[in-house]
C-alpha cells in the first residue's frame, strides 16, 4: 500500500494534544515516585500478589474467549443484518460501557445470584456461581463484551460487503463467506477488539467485588487485591498497581500497533 499524502495539521492542536497526553501519563508516572523500590521485589512476588495476578490473567483470558464466542456473532449480526429491532439491541449492548460497575454487579446478582432469576434454577442443578471464579469471569465478560462488539462492528462496516457479495456470487455459501472472506478481512479489528476486552477484564473491579466477593486464589483478582492493600499496606498497593499498569501496557502495546488498521 502506498502511503497516504500528508495533510498539514493546524498547529494549535498540539498544545491541547500534549496536555491530554500529560493528563493521562502524569498520574501513572507519579505513582512510580511512591514506590519503595527496595521492597518492590518482595512485595510483587508475595503469595497474595502472585495468586491475584495469576487469577487475573486466567479469568481475563477466559472472559476474552467468552467475548469472542458471543461477540463475533453479535457484531456480525449488528453490522450485516437489516432487521429493524437491531437498533434497540445495539443500544442495549453498549449499556455496560456506561453503567457504574456496581450496578453491573447488582444486575449480575439479580440474574445469576442464588436468589436470582437463573441462579435459583442453577442452584437446583447443583451449579453454584456466586463466590466462584466463574462469577469473576461473568463479571469481566459483562463489562468487556461491548469493547469487542464495538471494535468488530466498526471494522465490519468499514470493510463493507463488496468482497462478500463477490464470493457469494461465485457460489460460496454464507458460512463459507463468513469464514473465508468476511472475518479474515477484519482480523486486525477483531484482534484489537479482543485486546481491548482482555485489558478491560484485567481492570474489572466494581462488578467483581459486588457479584463475586473477594477471596484469595478464588475471586480476589489484582484490582481487588490492590483495593484491599490500599488500607493495610500502601507500599504493596502501589507496587501491585505498577504491576497492573505494566501488564496492561504490555498487552495493549504489544498487540495494538500490529492490530490497528
Amino acid at each position: 500500500m502506498s502511503r497516504t499524502r500528508h495533510v498539514g495539521l493546524p498547529r494549535w492542536l498540539f498544545g491541547p494534544a500534549l496536555l491530554a497526553g500529560v493528563f493521562v501519563v502524569l498520574p501513572v508516572a507519579a505513582m512510580t515516585t511512591r514506590i519503595a523500590w527496595g521492597d518492590f521485589p518482595a512485595l510483587v512476588t508475595s503469595e497474595a500478589a502472585r495468586s491475584a495476578l495469576w487469577l487475573s490473567l486466567r479469568t481475563s483470558a477466559a472472559s476474552t474467549a467468552l467475548c469472542l464466542l458471543l461477540g463475533i456473532p453479535l457484531a456480525t449480526v449488528l453490522a450485516r443484518s437489516e432487521a429493524r429491532w437491531l437498533g434497540v439491541l445495539r443500544s442495549l449492548v453498549l449499556l455496560p460501557l456506561v453503567l457504574p460497575p456496581v450496578v453491573g454487579g447488582i444486575a449480575l446478582l439479580s440474574a445469576f445470584g442464588r436468589q436470582g432469576l437463573l441462579g435459583s434454577e442453577l442452584e437446583a442443578l447443583g451449579i453454584r456461581i456466586a463466590f466462584t471464579s466463574v462469577a469473576v469471569v461473568l463479571a469481566q465478560t459483562f463489562v468487556s463484551l461491548p469493547f469487542l462488539v464495538v471494535s468488530l462492528e466498526g471494522a465490519l462496516r468499514t470493510a463493507g460487503e463488496r468482497y462478500d457479495v463477490v464470493a457469494a456470487s461465485l457460489g460460496a455459501r454464507p458460512t463459507t463467506v463468513l469464514r473465508r472472506v468476511t472475518l479474515p478481512l477484519v482480523l486486525p479489528g477483531l484482534a484489537s477488539g479482543a485486546v481491548l476486552a482482555f485489558a478491560r477484564s484485567l481492570g474489572e473491579f466494581g462488578a467483581t467485588i459486588t457479584f463475586a466477593g473477594s477471596l484469595e486464589g478464588t475471586t480476589r483478582t489484582l484490582p481487588l487485591l490492590i483495593y484491599n492493600l490500599r488500607v493495610t499496606d500502601a507500599d504493596a498497593a502501589v507496587a501491585m498497581s505498577l504491576v497492573l499498569v505494566v501488564v496492561a501496557v504490555l498487552v495493549i502495546g504489544l498487540v495494538r500497533p500490529r492490530a490497528a488498521l
Binding site: 498544545g15 491541547p16 496536555l19 445470584g113 436468589q115 463466590f131 466477593g213
Partner: protein, 264 residues
C-alpha cells in the same frame, strides 16, 4: 500567516484555558469544606460502618442543637477510613470500631488529644430470614456446604472473627472476605451468603432482614470503640462537641441500638 512563536503562544493559551475548568473543579471540594451550601458550616465525621444507624440519629440531635452546622457522615471499614484520613481526607472526627485502627491514626500524629472509648460491641452470627442453612452454632459455620462471609482480617469485625475462631478452636473457610461489616450484612441479607459474622448491633439495626444467632464464645471477644477529634480540624470546637455528644447524651442512643457501655 502568524509567526511561529505567536502560534505557540496561542496554543499555550488555549491549553491553559482548557486546563482552567480542571483546576476549578479540583479545588471545589476544599473550598466547600469550611462553609457549605447555604452558608452552613460543615462538620465531617468519619465513622465505622457499624455506627451507621446510631450516628445518623445523633446527626439529627446535633444539627437540632447547632442550627448553622451541617454534619457530613462518612461510613466505611475503620481501616479504610484511617487510610483516607492519612491520605488527606478532611475529617473533623474519627470513630473507630477497634483500638488497633485508632492507634494507627494516633501513630500518624492525626489525633487531637487522647481517644476516648464510647461503646463496646460483640459478634453474632447473622443468617438470612428462615435460616435456610440451619445454622445453630459456631461449629456449623465450618461446614463445607455453608457459604460463610466474613470481614477481612484488617477490618475490626474481621479481626474479631479471627479471635473468635482462635478462642473456639475452629478454622473458618469463608467464601468471601469483605471490606466492611455492612458488606457482610448485605451479602447475608440478599441470601447470597448462608451466614456471616457481624455485630449484635448490625442485626438489631437490620430488623427482620436477617436473624441473629448468639454463640457463647462471643462474650469473650469484645470490640472497643474509641472516638477522637482529628488534628488540624478547621472546626476543633465543633468536633469536640460531637465527641462530647457521643460520650454524653448519645450513650442512650447507642445503648438502644445494642452497643455495650464503654469498659474504660
Amino acid at each position: 500567516m502568524m509567526p511561529t512563536t505567536r502560534r505557540i503562544r496561542v496554543a499555550a493559551g488555549a491549553a491553559v484555558l482548557l486546563a482552567l475548568p480542571l483546576t476549578a473543579c479540583g479545588s471545589g471540594d476544599d473550598e466547600g469544606g469550611p462553609s457549605g451550601a447555604g452558608g452552613r458550616t460543615e462538620l465531617t465525621v468519619f465513622a465505622a460502618a457499624s455506627l451507621t444507624a446510631t450516628f445518623e440519629e445523633l446527626e439529627k440531635q446535633y444539627e437540632a442543637a447547632h442550627g448553622d452546622v451541617d454534619v457530613k457522615l462518612s461510613f466505611g471499614g475503620s481501616s479504610d477510613l484511617v487510610a483516607q484520613i492519612t491520605e488527606g481526607a478532611s475529617a473533623d472526627v474519627f470513630a473507630s470500631a477497634d483500638t488497633a485502627n485508632m492507634d494507627k491514626l494516633v501513630a500518624a500524629g492525626l489525633a487531637e488529644g487522647e481517644p476516648r472509648e464510647f461503646a463496646t460491641n460483640t459478634l453474632v452470627i447473622a443468617v438470612p430470614p428462615g435460616n435456610p442453612a440451619g445454622i445453630k452454632s459456631l461449629a456449623d459455620l465450618t461446614k463445607k456446604d455453608v457459604n460463610l462471609v466474613l470481614c477481612q482480617p484488617e477490618v475490626p469485625c474481621g479481626s474479631a472473627a479471627q479471635k473468635v475462631a482462635d478462642a473456639a478452636g475452629v478454622s473458618f473457610q469463608p467464601v468471601s472476605e469483605e471490606q466492611s461489616v455492612t458488606d457482610v450484612l448485605a451479602k447475608v441479607e440478599s441470601g447470597e451468603a448462608d451466614a456471616g459474622l457481624v455485630y449484635v448491633t448490625d442485626v438489631t439495626a437490620a430488623g427482620d432482614k436477617v436473624e441473629g444467632i448468639d454463640f457463647p464464645e462471643a462474650a469473650g471477644i469484645v470490640n472497643h470503640y474509641p472516638i477522637v477529634a482529628v488534628k488540624d480540624s478547621k472546626h476543633a470546637d465543633l468536633a469536640q462537641q460531637w465527641v462530647d455528644l457521643v460520650l454524653g447524651d448519645g450513650q442512650q442512643v447507642l445503648r438502644q441500638a445494642g452497643f455495650g457501655a464503654p469498659a474504660s
